[in-house]
Each structure stands twice: as C-alpha cells, then as structure tokens.
C-alpha cells in the first residue's frame, strides 16, 4: 500500500516533469515560428552576384541543407544538431572542429587532474590543520583571504609563470577546488568526537592508525561534502577558464560556436555541460552515502 503510494508519487512527479518539458518545447516552438526563412528569391542571379552573395554569407541554401535563419534556432534545427553531434561525437577535423566527446574529454581531464591535485593537497593539510589548533589559527588568515578570490583572477599569473595554457587551466581548477575541501576536512577532523579519540588513546593506538581508522572514517562524510562542493565549483569554472585560454575543451567549444554564430551548437553544449555536471554530482552523492554513518 505504502510502496504503491510512493510509486505513484514518483510516477506523478515524472508526469509533471514531462509536461513541463513539453511546455518549454511548445513555447520554444511558438517563439521561433515566425522566424521561418522567407521564400528564396525566384529571380535568377548572375554568377558574379551569386559569388558576391556567397562571400557576404547570403548564399541560397543548398538542396537538403537546413535553411539558415537569422533568428533563434527552431526546434527542428536544434534536433538535427543534437542528432548530428551525438551520432559522431569523436570526429577530429583539426583544431577548431572536434566532436563533442573529444572536447568533453579534454575538460574532464583538466577537471580530474586539477581536482586530484587539490585532493592530495587539501586532505592531508586539512587533517593537520584540523588536529592542531595552533596551525588552524596560523593558516586561517591565508585561507580567509585566498578563498574568496575568483579562480579566474589567478589566470594571468598562472599563464605568466606556467607558460602553458592547458596547465594553467588545470591550475585554476586546483585553486578553486582546494578551499572547500581544505575547510571541510579541517572542520571534520576538528569535530571528531572526543570519546572516539579517548577510546583510541586507551587502546594505545598509534597516531597513523588512529588517523586512518578513527579520524578518517569519522570525518569522511564532512570531507566528502567538501569534495562534492569542490567538484561542483570546478565544473562551473572549467567552462569559463577554457573560454579564456581557448584551444580545447567544452568551454572553448561554446565560445567557438558563438564565434561561428551556431546557436544550436551553443545550446547543445549548454545541455551537455548541465548533464555532465549532474552526473558528477550524482557520483559524489553516491560516494557520500557510502561513507555516511548513523549515530
């Protein structure tokens, strides 16, 4: 009885979601209806005129190709772009024309690397800061000043010192994901219950074993929360960072397609960024659930 009620709630929620989706598509469709292309001029043009039109970007659409419009893309155009991008995600036609999967892979690699380095720095450092009131106070002013800096503000400095745009991107991810992890680790370690530490003391547990077997599992939910926040921020920042440094990645893809005035590709990329961000968050949510304990 209860289960079926729950099930029906989920079902109804899904139905409403679907309705909202259809509504959005309908609004989109209605809004782009009038921007359908004007009928092509029937008057024949001279070869020179055709060439001139082509140079001016006004050439008549070739047969079979979707009609170009000056307005917001229609649903049909959007759909064909999605199909085209998803049906061949791995193509590589040179620096400015790569499949969406390749661009995503570049972004994910940068985020993954920057995030990993941030983990390696933030978790041990957070442990030390959390365990030592002296160090907590000593590090506090630095953390408080560095934390609110927009990661992109580091970009010129990174480009100047590192002299490599791709590594600078990784650095920016590192610097933006290090703070939430550092603060959460320190907080989690500092607030491990006194009684568990007392148990470890009366059992004469060695410091390293105590850190790994008592403090780490006790603080793990808080640490994972920090990692989840960090990953969220890193995924926000990578798009902006890649727009800035260019070359590869989903952020650069967005900017490149904007320069190409291909709004369908921009919208497609936005959707991809959203879906990947959601998947990353889901992954960390699952990890978080795995280490959470009930007292």
């Amino acid at each position: 009885m209860n289960a079926s009620l729950f099930k029906s709630l989920e079902f109804r929620a899904g139905l409403v979601s679907l309705l909202i989706f259809v509504f959005i598509l309908a609004v989109w469709h209605a809004a782009t209806l009038q921007s359908a292309p004007a009928p092509a001029p029937t008057t024949p043009v001279s070869a020179e005129q055709a060439e001139y039109d082509k140079l001016m970007g006004k050439s008549a659409p070739a047969a079979g190709e979707t009609a170009k419009t000056t307005g917001f893309p229609t649903l049909a155009q959007m759909g064909s772009t999605v199909v085209k991008q998803l049906s061949n995600p791995f193509y590589d036609n040179g620096p400015n024309d790569k499949g969406i999967a390749i661009q995503l892979a570049y972004s994910l690699a940068r985020v993954g690397l920057g995030f990993l380095i941030a983990c390696l720095v933030a978790i041990p450092l957070g442990f030390v800061i959390g365990m030592s009131p002296l160090l907590r106070r000593a590090f506090d002013p630095f953390i408080q000043v560095l934390k609110p800096i927009s990661p992109l503000a580091w970009m010129p400095l990174a480009l100047y010192t590192i002299k490599d745009s791709s590594i600078s991107g990784v650095f920016v991810i590192f610097i933006c994901s290090v703070w939430p992890m550092l603060l959460n680790t320190a907080f989690g370690v500092a607030s491990v219950k006194r009684e568990w530490l007392n148990v470890a003391s009366t059992l004469e547990v060695k410091p390293l074993r105590k850190a790994l077997k008592v403090i780490l599992p006790a603080a793990a939910p808080t640490i994972l929360t920090g990692m989840r926040i960090s990953m969220g921020i890193a995924w926000l920042v990578i798009v902006a960072a890649e727009m800035l440094v260019g070359g590869t990645g989903i952020g650069y893809f967005v900017w490149n397609e904007w320069n190409n005035l291909s709004l369908t590709n921009v919208i497609f990329a936005i959707l991809v960024i959203g879906v990947v961000g959601m998947l990353l968050d889901l992954f960390f949510a699952r990890l978080q659930r795995a280490v959470t304990y009930v007292e």
Partner: protein, 263 residues
C-alpha cells in the same frame, strides 16, 4: 591490602585557589570492586580519567601494580558513559579494533575468535554483525563492556556505564557485569549515581564531598567517607533489599549524600 591501585593525594584545580577536590587517597586491592558516589561536579569523572590516563591531576599520583600511571594504557579498560562505539563499524569490527590494538601480532582468525568470545560473554552473538545504530541503548553498553573485557585489562574503569539506561535494562546488565567480574576476577573502579547499584556491585563505596564555601573559607571536595559493604557476596537484585543490614547501609549512604556531602 596489597594496594594494586594506589591513588595518593590527588587534587585537581581549574582555579588555583579553589581546587575541585584535593588530598584524595585510596587503594584498590586486586579483584576488588569499588564504587564512587557523589553529586555532580565533585570530580568523580576527573578522578576516573586521571586513573585512566586521559586527564592529568594538578597534584598527587596514581600507581597501578607498582608503576605510576602516565597516560592511557591497554592495561586499564575503560567503559564510557556514552558507550563510545564507532558508529561506522559493526559490533564485530568495533571489538576487533580493540583486540587488534591489544595484540597486533594476532592472525585474523585468532582476532575473530577473541571477538566472538567477548560478544558471547555479554550475550550479543545474534547481533554481532549489526551496526551500533541498529542496537538498543542497553545492547550498545553491553558492546562497550565486551570491548573493555576483550583486551583483558588488569583493571576496569567504568564511568557511570548504566546512567542512560532504563531501570529494567540496567538491572539485567548489572547482573551480567557481576557474573563476568566474578568469573574473570577483575579489579573494578566504577562511578555511579545509583545507591542501590553501588550496594549491589561494590565491595567498598567511596562517598565524595563537594567543595564549597564555609565560614572558615573555601574547602575543597574529596572522599568524605568509605563504606565497606558487609552484605554477603552472593547478593543479587532479588534478595538485596531483604538482606540484614541493607537498610542501614542504604540509609547511611543516602544520609551522607543528602546532608553531609556538601560543606
């Protein structure tokens, strides 16, 4: 009196001129069960923590088995009031953590054997693979006791272990504790608030006085009286209040707590 545990002139002061207690001296013999009773804030837990090595005294010393206590040790098992189980570990792993700490050289199978024995001692074999959050308060405290016994300490320190339990559960665990202590000949030092619990369990009962202002100035707290429990050893929850001398003993302690415990 072999003085297995000797507490000598112990004192603790958070404010230098007003120590919470001072000049606390007593001895525990091997195999003896001693309870300490007193009002909140008289320093019972501090004394226990100093004996455990988790806290330091301002003055005085504690010796166990001829050696001064300087920090926590596996030789003294502690049962905490709040059971202090690691909530992310099952009962089995909680106790295994203690056993591994005591005998790091033991093989996994030997550790598991010791864990099983400890769990069986408190009758929780059925719940061995449960998490603490799946257990009742009484069961959690049993696990805490099993963990303390599992490391085979030279003495046991119990910090009001049944304080958070309901009366029925408390009675059952008290009897279990008696039988385990008799079986293992443990030396036990226990804090309690419950006069009947003290009379049931203890061979001797230390009654603590709170510090306070008197006409002659501040007087620190300390052990006011020591009551030797003369009731027969085989007393239990059912016959306790029918025994000769029970009411004299109980009245004496209650009178102390009500009228003589404060300066």
């Amino acid at each position: 009196m072999d003085g297995f545990l000797r507490v000598e002139k112990l004192g603790k002061a958070f404010a230098a001129d007003k120590p919470v207690f001072s000049d606390v001296s007593f001895k525990l013999d091997r195999g003896e069960f001693v309870c300490i009773i007193g009002h909140s804030g008289c320093g019972k837990t501090t004394i226990l923590n100093v004996i455990a090595g988790l806290d330091t005294a301002s003055t005085g010393h504690v010796f166990m088995d001829g050696r001064e206590v300087a920090g926590p040790s596996l030789e003294r098992g502690v049962v905490f009031q709040s059971h202090a189980l690691m909530p992310w570990l099952t009962v089995r792993k909680n106790i295994a953590f203690a056993v591994e700490s005591r005998w790091p050289e033991k093989k996994a199978s030997q550790i598991d054997e010791a864990v099983r024995a400890a769990v069986e001692l408190v009758g929780l074999t059925a719940a061995i693979d449960k998490l603490p959050s799946q257990l009742s308060g009484g069961m959690k405290q049993r696990v805490g006791i099993a963990r303390a016994f599992a490391i085979q300490p030279k003495m046991l320190l119990l910090d009001e272990p049944f304080g958070a339990l309901d009366a029925l559960t408390r009675g059952t665990i008290q009897e279990e504790l008696i039988s385990i202590v008799r079986k293992t000949q443990q030396t036990v030092f226990m804090i309690t608030h419950d006069v009947d619990e003290a009379i049931l369990l203890a061979d001797r009962i230390l009654l603590m006085k709170n510090g306070g202002e008197t006409d002659a100035g501040y007087v620190p707290g300390g052990v006011g009286e020591v009551v030797v429990n003369t009731l027969p050893k085989d007393r239990n929850r059912r016959n306790l209040h029918h025994l000769d001398g029970y009411y004299e003993l109980r009245n004496n302690i209650v009178d102390f707590l009500v009228t003589r415990a404060k300066h």
